[in-house]
Amino acid sequence: MKYISTCLLALFSTASMASDFSFSGFGTISAVKTNNSDVEFIQNNRLPSGASDDWEFDNDTVLGLQGQYKFNDQWSAVVQLLSRRNEKNNFDPQVDWAYIKYNPEPNLSFRLGRFISPVFLASDNRNVGFSNIWVRPPIDIYSQSTINNIDGADVTYRGYFGDFDYSIQAYVGGYTLDFPGGGDIEFHHMAGLVGTLSYDSWTFRLAYMNADHSNHNSDGVVPDPNIFMVVTDDGLGFNVTPDEACLFAENGESCADVITNLQSNIDYVKRSHRPFNLTNAAVVYDDGEYFAQGEFMHRRSASALSDAIGAYLTLGMRLGDFSPYVSYSFGKTLKETRYFELTPEYKAAVDAGVIAAGLDVANDYTVSAFNFTSNKQNTLTAGVRYDFAPNMALKLQVDKFRPLEHDDRDSYGNGLIVNGPLLSSLDRNVYVTTVSFDFIF
């Protein structure tokens, strides 16, 4: 609190000194409830707890304050403080944007500092509820990558030819995202390209980010995963640890001795310097009366964090101050299959062991599906935005989340957003109702 007041004081004292200072802000107050007392809805996976069947006000609620100072036509600086419930379950403000910008010419800009990695269409403005039609960007996509900030540099060029407007942005940097319970995901490097083209009512956007990530536990280390080897055709098997004795192996032989690619499988699963590459394509149509917006994303994370895809399509229209909309989205992980290579002697020994137990030997010995994350869900959304004043909007949105079975792991389908019992096996949808009030000043 002392921190924010110092910052604000600094901002305001600057404001009184110069007319090239501008101060603005935005916020959202939302009330969220589900139809199920066993389920907690969280709007992103950094929230330690969520909304149940009582109205809760801390899911989307956010306040942002921005100070912007223009030194001259070339140089400017922006600081934005954001207060929203975080992984530590408090609202301590965080510096969400803080950069210096250099415009050698009006169409070309360089930034250095902290900004948002623009991996998806609405990444940049996901916290500014007033600027979006929904109460929150569709989580089937946006929770596949909770990436928010990046500390680094970028360059943007924008221009037009004929009736086409375009912009190209390239960025590099890194960031560490903290999660509830003390763990984090460190993005060692992030490098991305974003291209946007708009013509008349249409906007097209392509984005790609190449990144490396490590998932540290609360002790700051990436633990070695417990790798499970499946050896029967109905999914039975055992743990294989490199320096420990391996089931069915000769005395004195460790798993590393008899499984020749054990280490490479461990290195694959272990989330230490693994990829986090995001590809995103978006199309927007908005003629002022009708609008449609769709996005597709693919995540290449090749590790215990499985690759994933997600997409949504939103359709809406404007009736005076009211904008009703409907949306469909889905998100799912892609199945990973990794094989073990065994020495012939060991393979024969395990096969014999399986047969002796009266079981059927698997065609291939694989890394268990349980070594990889798995989720699958789809969502139907209906809502209406009401622009009742120039700087304020009210929204009502109802989402029907459907957590689905996935990869034959029917007891593990929990979807992306729900803390609670295993849902897919109950074959039950989760309805989430949100009322939000968005404002800017």
Binding site: K70, R111, V128, P390
Partner: protein
């Protein structure tokens, strides 16, 4: 009944009038060839310069002003609420600063008269000889 109808028709005409009436103005010193598409870009945050490369100082009216609603609808093809949402996105992602908001056409005329790089808009009937009319909406 008839009277009510007449009032409705008259107010409809008045709205029509307000729409047809807006002229986009620049400083008389500005000799650049500026199209409607250029002005649209300026008021939607897609450019901050004139076609000749010089920096734009655009002025607008506060969001309650009816001439602004008419301008947003006629040139930008959007409701003012949509333009507000667009600028909220641009401002809070550091992509631009919206045009200065003035409260009267008198202020707009003064500003455009005083600044060679200014652009603004007023009702056609209010244009003075101190500014140059680019086009009528």
């Amino acid at each position: 009944m008839n009277r009510a109808l007449i009032i409705i028709v008259l107010s409809f005409l008045a709205i029509q009038q307000a729409w047809a009436d807006i002229v986009v103005i620049v400083n008389p010193a500005n000799q650049d060839a500026i199209s409607k598409a250029d002005v649209r870009r300026m008021y939607m945050g897609k450019t901050s310069q004139f076609p000749n490369g010089s920096k734009v100082k655009a002025v607008n009216y506060d969001a309650e002003n009816t001439i602004r609603h008419a301008f947003d609808k006629a040139l930008l093809k959007r409701d003012s609420a949509q333009i507000q949402a667009l600028w909220a996105k641009l401002v809070f992602t550091g992509q631009g600063v919206p045009p200065n908001e003035l409260s009267s056409s008198q202020e707009a005329l003064e500003f455009v008269k005083a600044n060679p790089d200014a652009i603004g808009y007023v009702s056609e009937g209010e244009v003075s000889a101190d500014v140059k009319v680019l086009f009528k909406l």
